[in-house]
């Protein structure tokens, strides 16, 4: 069965536990939300899942097989792609080259990489930006390029690290629609890290809440919204505050 699974993953930095015994599973076509306060260990978990950081204990399993100590580009070749906070594009290169170099890095020939890059930009809805220098793009377009780049080679799983940071409500809604298309049309399993809890509650099928490196709650959005533990983690008290829900276009 195709799935990406973190199995009791722990990470310690100089004795300080960044993650302790975290379990998480993403299956194709599913959108899993990963939320939690700052410093909860969300990005560390993405780093472990993509080979950027070794787990101190536990394992990452792809289709039941442990990834072991594969390097990031080897993990990427197995079909696990990610984006980074802030995009991290090659800012001096044209948009199309950002995608093309990813395809080439995946082992595609240049012609195949160019063809897929063009098709991908079209699919993400930014085909007219192909020749623009990536560093000169507006913030939201830069994010779309980063997602397009991550989708090169049609990964089985896509890990998005705060893709909506700094976006307006309208822009976040458009991004949500794109993420849904990635899951539905591509059949890609998406792990979404996002501070915008409303976006996560409106978009995800399943949500994992981290606090201080440990999973404090998992379940569908309704269960997360109703959870006292989640409220407590976010608000520092059990105050009766409604978590907002962002409406997502189908």
């Amino acid at each position: 069965m195709t799935e990406l699974r973190a199995d009791k993953v722990s990470v310690a930095f100089a004795g300080l536990k960044a993650l302790s015994g975290v379990d998480l599973t993403v299956t194709p076509g599913q959108i899993v939300g990963l939320i939690g306060p700052n410093g909860a260990g969300k990005t560390t978990l993405v780093n472990v899942l993509t080979g950027f950081q070794a787990a101190t204990e536990g394992a990452v399993l792809l289709d039941g097989q442990p990834l072991g100590s594969l390097k990031p580009h080897e993990v990427r070749r197995r079909g696990i792609a990610r984006t980074f906070q802030g995009g991290r594009l090659f800012r001096d290169l044209p948009v199309i080259d950002n995608l093309e170099v990813t395809g080439v890095g995946l082992g595609q020939s240049r012609a195949v990489a160019i063809a897929e890059a063009e098709a991908m930009l079209d699919w993400v809805g930014i085909a007219p930006l192909a020749g623009r220098i990536a560093g000169a793009l507006p913030y939201t377009d830069e994010r779309r390029v980063a997602i397009g780049r991550a989708l090169m080679g049609r990964p089985k799983f896509l890990l998005l690290d705060e893709p909506a940071a700094g976006m307006s409500a309208q822009e976040a809604a458009e991004l949500s629609a794109l993420i849904r298309r990635i899951a539905v049309e591509m059949g890609c399993g998406v792990l979404l890290i996002e501070h915008n809890v409303g976006l996560v509650l409106g978009l995800c099928d399943h949500i994992v809440v981290l606090d201080s490196g440990a999973v404090i709650e998992t379940g569908p959005p309704e269960a997360i919204r109703a959870s006292e533990k989640v409220r407590h983690a976010y608000m520092g008290s059990a105050a009766d505050i409604d978590l907002p829900v962002l409406e997502v276009e189908a």
Partner: protein, 304 residues
């Protein structure tokens, strides 16, 4: 008119040398953040390669006697080969250290090459007669300039066009541009890091060889220090151009050539001996107003 054109051609041909040298340094700095101070000694090594396998200047029996269509590829291969060898033997071991340590290693490598040449050929300059047909003058726009000067300029333009096409149109060029901007990210995306770095060294070494051919033909001598002066100006050009920016290195190389040539003309005769001091003074002024260089490469500011 003739006099002015003469100055223009002098400036362009001197600028060409600096631009070629600066490109060689910037290519490697781009992918490795290494300022390769051994570059000048690679130039000298390539000049002395023309004397091989003899170490006696009066008995050129092999390379220096080759016809130009063999001589040029031979010298380019020597430069590229030595440069790649220095990567494999020395710099590869310094990948994870800070740039200052790598720079010191490059100084050390430069000394090793220089003293190797000194051991074989002694410090006395050797005379070499390289491509003698190139010294005859040609008349362009009323100026009589040596054919070699014209060829230097044309070769540099051809190298720049060729390198631009290579970087823009080939898979290797694409990987190199990505690696130059953000090596770590490029590597994480599966860009072939070792091949990109070796390619950069090969190109840089070939550029050093091109300078060796031009210098050897211009001066008619082989001198173990002959790469050092070009290297210094080329290094300054890469700093002014914005470390790692290829376009900046080329522009600054030509600008330095122009400044040096113009200074030679406009300075009073008594002050001409201090020409380089004026050139370096201009460099200080540029760096006061634009410390990041004319075209700062983004990769030097932002790294993953």
């Amino acid at each position: 008119m003739g006099g002015l054109m003469q100055v223009v051609f002098d400036a362009l041909s001197l600028g060409s040398l600096y631009a070629l040298g600066a490109l060689g340094i910037a290519l490697i700095f781009g992918v490795m953040r290494l300022v390769n101070f051994a570059h000048g000694d690679v130039i000298a090594f390539c000049v002395f390669a023309l004397l091989w396998p003899s170490v006696d200047a009066v008995a050129i029996i092999f390379a220096g006697n080759l016809p130009w269509f063999l001589l040029i590829p031979f010298t380019l291969a020597v430069g590229a080969g030595l440069s790649v060898l220095s990567e494999v033997v020395v710099f590869r071991r310094f990948r994870r250290v800070n740039p200052a340590t790598m720079m010191i290693a490059s100084f050390a490598l430069g000394f090793v090459i220089r003293y190797f040449l000194l051991m074989l050929f002694s410090s006395r300059p050797k005379s070499i007669l390289l491509l003698p047909g190139l010294s005859q003058p040609v008349e362009i726009f009323g100026a009589r300039i040596p054919l070699l000067q014209l060829i230097t300029i044309l070769v540099t333009i051809a190298v720049l066009i060729g390198l631009t096409a290579f970087l823009r149109r080939t898979r290797f060029g694409l990987e190199m541009r990505a690696a130059a901007e953000n090596f770590t990210m490029a590597r994480m995306l599966g860009v072939r890091a070792n091949r990109v770095i070796m390619g950069a060294f090969a190109l840089s070494g070939a550029l050093a060889a091109a300078i060796a051919l031009i210098l050897g033909s211009q001066t008619g001598t082989a001198n173990i220090m002959m790469g050092a002066s070009v290297m210094l100006m080329a290094f300054i050009a890469t700093v002014i151009g914005g470390m790692g920016s290829l376009a900046g290195a080329v522009i600054a190389g030509f600008a330095l050539g122009a400044i040096a040539t113009v200074m030679q003309v406009i300075l009073p005769p008594d002050a001409r001996a201090f020409r380089d001091a004026f050139v370096y003074g201009a460099v200080i002024l540029v760096l006061i107003f634009r410390p990041q260089g004319l075209l700062a490469a983004r990769g030097t500011r932002e790294r993953v």
